[in-house]
Amino acid sequence: MFTFIIRRLVQTIPVLIGVTILTFSMIHLVPGDPAQIMAGESASPQQVELMRERLGLNDPIPVQYFDYVSGVLQGDLGNSVRSGRAVSDEIAIRIRPTVELATMSTALSVFIGLIAGVLAAVRRNTFGDTFIMLVALFGLSMPNFWLGIMLIQYLAIGVDIFGFNTGIFAASGWGTWQQQVLPVITLGVAGAAIIARMTRSSMLEVIDQDYIRTARAKGVKERVVVYRHALKNAMIPVVTVVGLQFGSLLGGAVLTESVFAINGLGRFMIDAIRARDFPIMQGGVLVLAFMFVSVNIVVDILYRFLNKRIDLN
């Protein structure tokens, strides 16, 4: 297992090199002159030239790349064109809400998804199964910004029922639990639905296996058969989905961050793209890619931990 982790870490080095090449080239691949774009349309030729010098765009490309990578390795991602502050500081402020939001909503999805999926599977083809799967389909097809707006409407702004106002949660920001509940639900619902469906089909496959019959023949309680013998096997394909989902939430919670006015990385990146703030875009993509790769490693380790049959060495 230890050698596997080392090997897996070594494998990510080329991936990370590829990512730096990609983020480095971003600035050269967009049409137009990056110095002109960043200096602004009304900038004088001198200002543009100054910008070009500041960005090191006059050096040969390999030198530029080398400078870029050595900067990255020292934690220097350049400075924001708009604010002039270090990109790493700007990202550090915004990354916490994003990571927290992604973690909490993934945890919620896994918790609800697993329970719902198992319950549906053990009640296969009954009313309970159909009902759970219908709710899951609903959760899956509901756009999450709409869910966010509804939650704000009824649980943040609230309505009066018998003199009691249902607006118990906050509608914007990130920090207190009142602020966290609604965005976590908003982002977690779709994931819960996907995991529930995956878990159900995976459980149905596992529950008919011979080793489940063996467990029953041993005198194992049905509850233990389901949770100890079946679920552990059924989890194997689910883990991959959870990992992918978590990774995409890290970069893609833009809508939810906007609806709830959360100062997160997703929203920040969109703003940076709009403002052509290249250093922020580069830094943001790099950080996201790094987190995605890390999540993948964790998923691989978990997968291997669950599935004894694969031998990656």
Binding site: Q209, D210, Y211, R213, T214, A215, A217, K218, G219
Partner: protein, 344 residues
């Protein structure tokens, strides 16, 4: 009607009376087990033979009440040490399973849970049925592996099923089944999936363990060679019914039912593997469950079938040598050739 215990010289440990198990599919009811009778003598081995689909596995799963939807036990009695298992609660049944009656299965490759070690899976039996700790259970698991002839058991307990060969896995299954010292072991084609040399080893092991531990065995197989080697009594099943139930020596010396005779004639030589071809001596094939013959189930394939065979289902009756047979030829009602010689 005859009682299944009538032919036993020994006390029965298990007696199955008129067991009926059906699967309720959308279109029709599949009577997988349709009034099965047999008894298992204490400390001895009963063989159950029959072609694929005759209901052997469903019979054995019914005994432990492990039939899953859409299957259902719809009638009969399963008397284990005099108590009807069909009257027991689910919790009481759990105390029987793996403790008093154990089972090993046809498919050693898939019958062990891939995500737990061999030791964890054997230990589980101890931890369920005998109130002992993890460490102690693991030690006993090692002893069990030693008993079933697995080399270096201390290492093996830590391995996962995929690290073991088919024969080793079946030994692990046997170790798991015998862990809590059951009085009855149901072995559902324990050697079918294994190659010939391993088959012989496993059968030898089971015989040896029976002598040492004194349990009774139900040996399910479609191989009459296995019956000859390991069983004391044998029930021949065809389409969910017992058609002949006899002492093993009698069955081989003087088979009575035309189906049994067909099976014996097609007995494969042990040195060649004919696979599924081995039963082609009996002409035709098993009718589909929606097209169940209304008389004797075997009539459409029977070379001796006469009018009464097609019209009416014969009962299981005692024959003159004390065995039991379900065939019109041996009754007074027989309307075919009075001189017919089934095994001539």
């Amino acid at each position: 009607m005859v009682k299944p215990t009538d032919i036993l010289k020994e006390e029965p440990i298990l007696e199955v009376r008129n067991l009926q198990t059906s699967f309720f599919t959308e279109k029709f009811e599949v009577k997988a087990v349709d009034g099965v009778n047999f008894a298992v003598p204490k400390g001895k081995t009963l063989g159950i033979v029959g072609e694929s689909g005759s209901g052997k596995s469903i019979t054995s799963l019914s005994i432990l009440r492990l039939i899953q939807n859409p299957g259902k036990i719809i009638g009969g009695e399963i008397l284990f040490k005099g108590e009807n298992l069909l009257d027991k609660s689910e919790a009481q049944m759990r105390r029987v399973r793996g403790n008093e009656i154990s089972m090993i299965f046809q498919e050693p490759m898939t019958s062990l849970n891939p995500v737990y070690t061999v030791g964890q899976q054997i230990s589980e039996s101890y931890r369920i049925h005998q109130n002992i700790g993890k460490k102690e259970a693991m030690l006993r698991s090692i002893d069990m592996l030693k008993l079933v002839g697995i080399p270096s058991p201390e290492q093996r307990v830590k391995q996962y099923p995929h690290e073991l060969s088919g024969g080793m896995r079946q030994r692990v299954m046997i170790a798991m089944a015998l862990a809590c010292d059951p009085e009855l072991l149901i072995a559902d084609e324990p050697t079918t999936a294994l190659d010939v040399t391993i088959q012989a080893q496993i059968l030898e092991l089971m015989k040896e363990l029976q002598q040492r531990l004194g349990m009774s065995i139900v040996m399910i197989t479609h191989d009459l060679g296995v019956v000859a080697e390991t069983c004391d009594y044998v029930a021949v099943m065809y389409m969910g019914k017992v058609v002949e139930y006899a002492k093993v020596a009698d069955l081989f010396k003087n088979p009575k039912h035309p189906y049994t005779v067909g099976l014996l004639n097609s007995l494969p030589r042990h040195d060649i593997d004919l696979g599924d071809e081995e039963l082609t001596v009996i002409k035709g094939s098993v009718p589909s469950p929606d097209n169940m013959p209304k008389g004797c189930r075997f009539a459409p394939r029977c070379p001796f079938a006469s009018e009464i065979c097609v019209e009416q289902l014969p009962d299981l009756e005692q024959s003159e040598d004390g065995n039991q047979i379900r065939c019109w030829i041996y009754t007074d009602e027989w309307d075919g050739d009075p001189e017919v010689k089934v095994n001539g």
